[in-house]
Amino acid sequence: MTYFLQTLVGGLGMGAVYALVAMGFSIVYRTMGLVNFAHADVVMIGAFLAATLFVTMHLPFAVAITAAVLLTAVIGLGIERILRPLESKDLNLMLIGTIGFGIMLQSAAILIWGSFGVAVPTPIPNVPIDVGGIIVTTYQLFVLAVSGIVMLLLYLFLDRTKLGTAMQAAAMDRSAATAMGVNVSSSNAIAFAIGSGIAAVAGALVGPLLYVNPALGVYVGIKGFAAAILGGFGSIPGAIVGGLIFGLIEAFAAGPLSAYSELLTFVVFAGAMMVRQTGIFGERTVDRA
């Protein structure tokens, strides 16, 4: 039982990171229908930026993470601008275009930071706390708290602000939203900027948990993406639940079968998707004949 709970708690930290990555994917997808494969590498860039500012330039963690968010937001805006001509034309082509961006970001990271990567110390003293026999570290709590705050802010933005509501409207019906005076292009750009910004938060938080290196996007990003799909693509609560599920599957698979943990994770994922394509919170859309 203790083993079970310990693994459960262990999975929550990475789960929160996956949930953040998944939210970044989802906000772009729900707003413009674009599947941004480059998102995984934006997470990695965010992690590097935060690590550089925090470790090398000795800036406070809060400043480092904010600067990383702003810089990746700019990268997101750039990707959106370049792929804009393909929007609403060909989903598969756009998807491949974002893969192209991912490759570029990865090699840019290798050029700037080298292929070895950096170890990042935790921004707060990392003390284990014993809660009824289960060990929780302060950094895990920190990750959960920051993720929770970001999720709450995003929810408030989408639900309570005029701009957020306009973006939701643009997501539901482009032409109707345009007719109502919503600038759909700028709403897409904002979605991209927010998505990339959240990616940087995820990257900054995951830095001290893993080792920041150019392949980080492949591991964290792809699982975050898979989490978004598992939760129901485009759904914000879905992203959170999907992320936590992935964190947990990974934690439980890592113990006894570590050589096969990736295989197990993705086979479970593929199986789940076969059973319910729309994910946990997804709506089935009717393909109108």
Binding site: P85, L91, T265, D287, A289
Partner: protein, 597 residues
């Protein structure tokens, strides 16, 4: 059509003469280029032709290589026995990866296949069986008496022959029935199914071909490099393959080959600065999708069209021999059986809370033109979707010529003689007008594709006959002048006509037309009326959903009126027009539709 130009024999000649002038290092690079070209052709078949976003192609390559390496080292098999077993293993792996594709498409399939590829890499680096990160070394060479296959020069010929066979086979598939069905399924999956294509089978087949080709390249790689390691088949290689296919042109076999030549050459020229090459090919992918979505092959085709240059080519005489007997004039339909063509018996269909159809019954007699009218959202198209097998009804039954066909799938309904058009045009956009019709004309079951292996000449012969029949049909629809245009480039009225022509090409006994007059001008509407009468004249029973009262009142013999998912009236146009229920409850006084009655 299949043409052998001057180019192909010339290329083959060059390929075979190349080793004479090259040094052994360059031959080594050439072997690598050819291997990548083979894998890329496989990716082009599954993704470019089949529309399946397969991000596991590098893993197929790796499966072939690892399986052959493992069998011939750890298990001590003769390499010539290990090789075919490894190829078969790869085919099995490809079919397994294809299982998710039966339900998942586009980005869903992309992430699932990418995930499985990632899992494959992680398995290779972590498992003891595959030697972990250090891989498997001392893979024995393939040996043939009289040849030195451990040296690059003789091995070059082995790989060159494999490349010629693979490219030849891919071109053959791509330009004939199988490739056309792949492309139809890629362009519009619903219309493809409604044209009689069993989608599941073709998705599996696309992956199978990609696996087969990838496995062959993998085996050839392992016995050439004599060493396999996980990073040769990782995500970096997957993205490299993707770049080859996208830059070369997705649905072009030659594009994939050219992509492989360009990128591997570039990679070898830029060896010291590996990260820059990645930056460059990432950038090339982005530039290609934005500026030349159809890649180099597409750009070349556009240029050729603009300059009006035909490829210099000699047609294979037995393919287009003019002296052949002209094919019989297209029989639009077999003579219709007597009696009730279509019977719908209290069919209901619910979507979550929405009752789209509630206990709908109707009967259409043989050879009748039957109209279905009703406001938007009253369930007319849903009924067509139930009849044509896109939806399975929650209750009730559908009979075609007295046979219970309830819940049969779309492709089967097409084979049972029910064809349809769609409210919002569903043409195979990137196929030519002629090919659109040929897809529907092609009534061969999927098993017939075994002919590609055992009797390719039959494929060619059938293809020729089909082409001639398709041209005849296009003449009937006055579309023969644009036979070689892409469907997407046609004017709207012609697209509508083509869709009806395509539906008829399937030789249906029952034709379902969903708002065929939508968007047509007055002259085109008159043409449509004549066409519908002509179709019935050929013995086809026609059911037509239409808002255009002029057309409905003049052409239809009987009408069924829908309201809120129910049948609210039925009868001859005259009866329906004077039915107070229809006028009061549905049309309402003073609407344009009421005025038309």
């Amino acid at each position: 059509m299949i043409r052998i130009g001057f180019g192909k024999p010339l290329l083959v000649g060059l390929l075979l003469l190349l080793p004479v002038v090259l040094d052994s290092y360059t031959i080594h690079v050439a072997i690598l280029i050819m291997l990548f070209a083979i894998v890329a052709v496989g990716l082009s078949l599954v993704m470019g032709f089949g529309g399946q976003v397969n991000l596991a192609q590098a893993a197929f390559f790796g499966t072939g290589a690892y399986a052959s390496a493992l069998l011939s080292t750890t298990y001590g098999w003769n390499p010539w026995l290990a090789a075919p077993v490894a190829v078969l293993t790869t085919c099995a792996v490809a079919l397994t990866v294809a299982i998710p594709a039966l339900r998942l498409q586009s980005h869903y399939l992309g992430i699932v296949s990418l995930g499985l590829a990632l899992a494959f890499s992680s398995l290779l680096s972590n498992s003891d069986l595959t030697g972990g990160a250090s891989g498997i070394s001392k893979v024995p060479p393939l040996a043939l008496p009289g040849l030195d296959l451990s040296g690059p020069r003789d091995y070059y010929y082995l790989v060159a022959i494999a490349l010629i066979l693979v490219v030849g086979f891919a071109l053959f598939v791509g330009n004939t029935t199988l490739g056309r069905r792949f492309k139809a399924m890629r362009d519009d999956v619903l219309a493809a199914a409604a044209s009689g294509i069993e989608i599941r089978y073709y998705r599996l087949m696309a992956f199978l071909l990609a696996g087969l080709v990838g496995g062959v390249a993998g085996v050839l790689y392992a016995h050439n490099a004599r060493y396999v390691s996980p990073d040769t088949f990782g995500l970096g290689v997957m993205f490299l393959l993707l770049a080859m296919v996208i830059i070369g042109g997705q649905d072009s076999v030659w594009g994939a080959v050219v992509g492989a030549v360009l990128l591997i050459t570039a990679r070898n020229l830029l060896t010291g600065i590996q990260t820059y090459q990645q930056l460059v090919y990432g950038g090339l992918i982005v530039a290609t999708v934005v500026f030349a979505p159809r890649g180099l092959a597409g750009a070349a085709a556009d240029l050729r069209r603009r300059l009006n240059l035909p490829w210099p080519s000699i047609l294979i005489p037995w393919l287009t021999r003019p002296g052949l007997p002209p094919p019989a004039r297209l029989k639009v339909a077999p003579p219709a059986p007597e009696g009730v063509a279509l019977r719908v018996d209290s069919v209901s269909k619910r979507f979550k809370g929405l009752h789209a159809l509630v206990g709908v019954s109707l009967e259409v007699g043989a050879g009748e033109i039957h109209g279905i009218i009703g406001p938007n959202g009253s369930g007319k198209t849903t009924l067509f979707n139930v009849i044509s097998g896109i939806y399975r009804p929650n209750s009730g039954r559908v009979f075609v010529w007295g046979r219970d066909v309830t819940g049969q799938r779309s492709f089967r309904m097409s084979r049972l003689g029910v064809a349809r058009t769609f409210q919002n045009l569903r043409l195979f956009r990137q196929l030519t007008v002629l090919e659109n019709v040929m897809v529907a004309l092609d009534r061969d079951p999927a098993q017939a594709h075994i002919r590609y292996l055992i009797a390719p000449w039959v494929v060619v012969r059938n293809e020729r006959a089909r082409r001639a029949r398709a041209l005849r049909l296009l003449e009937d629809f006055d579309l023969h002048q644009v036979a070689d245009e892409l469907a997407v480039n046609l004017a709207y009225g012609r697209q509508r006509r083509l869709e009806i022509g395509r539906a008829l090409a399937a030789e249906p006994t029952i034709l379902l037309l969903d708002e065929p007059a939508a968007g047509l001008n007055a002259a085109e509407q008159e043409g449509l009326k004549a066409t519908i009468r002509k179709i019935r004249g050929a013995g086809v029973t026609v059911v037509v959903i239409e808002h255009n009262m002029n057309l409905v009142m003049n052409v239809c013999e009987r009408l069924t009126v829908f309201g809120h998912g129910k049948v609210i009236a039925a009868g001859t146009p005259r009866e329906v027009a004077s039915n107070p229920v229809v006028i009061e409850a549905y049309l309402g006084q003073g609407t344009p539709e009421a005025a038309a009655l």
